[in-house]
């Protein structure tokens, strides 16, 4: 559709690589301990504003913690949750899609109906309820967010398998006696890889926003943890005096998600031109 518009988004790739590097090397890059509370320097503005200093380049929050250091450490949570939750959800979804598409029958019906239920469930409410039951924590956030993401993979892979299994190359390997698992994993799976990669890139972006939303509501990794969503929440009562507490973490989320979306767009255009939107 986008006729040859498959130039790689170099800027987005570089930015995302930098964010990943920041996450990996956070302890070495952060100027301060992100949890260090110093009440005498609370609500200090960023360096370019009156009263700001380069020692706290992006200012401090209501407890005097260094915003830049918290932003740097916050990148870890966003990226880990985004990647692990999507990998888990995609893994389960792909497996279920392969099985339901290949075998059909009752199992297919049941799993697809469960998917319907999930799609009709207002997700944020399900996540809030599940987090309230499970309690805070990184593992629980990842679990809850991966529960949401399997459905689209299962549906898409199932659709592809249904189309592929009647194709001649699959019939041919079956005729020479290949086992079912070998046919699905070795011959069908590689053919669904492109749309899966595209879908996964967009889900990482959405999952990062979902994690931030949960943290914002106080149902994330932990109330005092340095996550971007929690930082936005901590700043919301200080908007009038200290916009930077909420302002910077939101910008960080937006830049990260935008880079991932741009890369996703490019992957879609270059890997699978038949997918739109």
């Amino acid at each position: 559709m986008n006729g040859g518009k498959t130039r790689a988004p170099i800027g987005a790739i570089v930015i995302l690589a930098c964010i990943a590097a920041v996450a990996v090397f956070a302890p070495w890059l952060a100027p301060e301990n992100p949890e260090e509370i110093v009440l005498t320097r609370r609500l200090a503005p960023p360096f370019w504003m009156e009263g700001g200093s380069i020692a706290h380049a992006l200012g401090t929050d209501s407890l005097g913690r260094d915003i830049l250091s918290r932003l740097i450490f916050g990148s870890r949570v966003s990226l880990i949750v985004g990647l692990v939750a999507v990998a888990a959800g995609a893994g389960v979804g792909i497996a279920l899609g392969l099985v339901t598409g290949y075998y059909g029958g009752v199992l297919d019906n049941v799993i697809m109906r469960i998917g319907d239920v999930q799609l009709a469930f207002p997700f944020i409410l399900l996540a809030i309820a599940l987090m309230a039951v499970l309690g805070e924590g990184l593992g629980n956030v990842i679990l809850v967010l991966s529960i949401r993401s399997w459905v689209p993979y299962a549906r898409m892979v199932r659709g592809q398998v249904l189309a592929l299994k009647e194709q001649e190359f699959v019939q041919a390997v079956r005729a020479i006696g290949a086992k079912d698992w070998r046919i699905t994993v070795k011959h069908i799976l590689p053919n669904v890889a492109a749309p899966v990669i595209v879908l996964a890139s967009f889900s990482v972006a959405r999952t990062i926003i979902a994690e931030a939303s949960l943290s914002f509501l106080g149902l994330g990794v932990g109330v005092s943890a340095a996550t971007w969503g929690a930082m936005i929440s901590q700043g919301k009562d200080y908007l009038t005096d200290a916009w930077w507490i909420s302002g910077f973490p939101g910008l960080a989320i937006m830049i990260t998600v935008l880079s991932i979306n741009l890369i996703g767009d490019w992957l879609r255009d270059s890997l699978d031109p038949s997918l739109k939107y």
Binding site: V117, L130, S246, L258
Partner: protein, 305 residues
């Protein structure tokens, strides 16, 4: 057509039933409402009386059967906290949610259709790229953060509009704007991409070769057909907005369904959570079925498949 509708209604009802069961079990895992509702000095007997009055002393499957029986009579039970019929509480909040969702969708459509069309007819130019970058930005910004920043800029700094609460149109502007950004961005991209596809069709070439003006070709022949896929996403957006505006409602203190259910979750108000989620699920499934029907009316090719 009739068979298709029946199948859709059946699978929709099945999904709603599934949601009812999941919510029913999930809220009961949240903890004992008696512990929260009763004063700390309540005796064991008093707590037992409370539990018995609401049926919490029955096994969970019996509670579910009772709930279903009442549901079949259209009774959603009474709120534990407010001691009011759940149905009334929902009906009080529903108009606010509808008002917010519909306004947000109207905002998004008013901008998305012209932006998408402009990007498509000027494909590859600066305008196309600028529109697409802005649309991508709109899909990447967390709505709760955008809401806070709008409060700061438009409400606190510029004092243009009220920053929270419920009232006239001015109260609606910031929350509706915040909610409209994601659908706006997505719809713009879809309109552009559908327009590009339609503009490459033979009947457009025919229309042009008849000597029709580019304006008529674009708006009369192309846009009409390009809007068909838009129906689906708008439907999905409406369905999602009816249940998903939880965070934006919280930020702007908007008295809608989302906030009602989140507060009910906090209070362990089981009947209210169950009723609220049920209504949201019915709206979501209902809107989806309506969209499918509308789709087959607008595009007769779908009926044949």
């Amino acid at each position: 057509m009739g068979g298709y509708l029946a199948r859709r209604l059946f699978s929709g009802a099945l999904a709603i039933l599934g949601i009812v069961i999941v919510v029913f079990v999930l809220v009961r895992m949240l903890g004992d409402p008696a512990a929260l509702m009763m004063p700390p000095e309540a005796t064991k007997e008093e707590i037992e009386i409370f539990r018995h009055a609401y049926g919490f002393d029955h096994p969970i499957h019996m509670q579910l059967v009772d709930f279903m029986k009442e549901l079949a009579r259209g009774d959603l039970g009474r709120s534990l906290r407010h001691d009011e019929p759940v149905m009334n509480m929902i009906m009080e909040r529903l108009p606010a949610t509808l008002k917010l969702s519909v306004t947000a969708l109207v905002f998004s459509l008013i901008l998305a259709v012209p932006l998408g069309v402009i990007a498509a007819i000027h494909r590859g130019t600066f305008w196309d790229r600028a529109t697409m970058v802005i649309a991508m930005l709109g899909q990447s910004v967390p709505d709760f953060w955008l809401g806070l920043m709008l409060i700061y800029l438009a409400g606190v700094r510029l004092r243009l509009v009220p920053i929270s609460g419920y009232g006239g149109f001015s109260h609606l502007i910031l929350p509706a704007l915040t909610l409209s950004v994601f659908p706006l961005a997505r719809t713009t991209r879809i309109v552009r991409s559908a327009m590009l596809e339609v503009l490459g069709q033979d009947y457009i070439r025919t229309a042009r070769s008849k000597g029709l003006s580019e304006r008529i070709v674009t708006y009369k022949h192309a846009l009409k057909n390009a809007l068909i896929p838009v129906i689906t996403v708008v439907g999905l957006d409406l369905g999602a907005l009816l249940g998903g505006a939880v965070i934006v409602e919280t930020i702007f203190a908007w008295p809608g369904m989302g906030r009602l259910v989140v507060q009910a979750l906090d209070n362990r108000d089981f009947p209210l959570v169950q009723g609220g989620v049920l209504v949201m699920a019915i709206s979501y499934v209902g809107v989806n079925i309506l969209v499918d029907l509308l789709y087959s009316i607008v595009d007769p090719r779908i009926r044949c498949n």
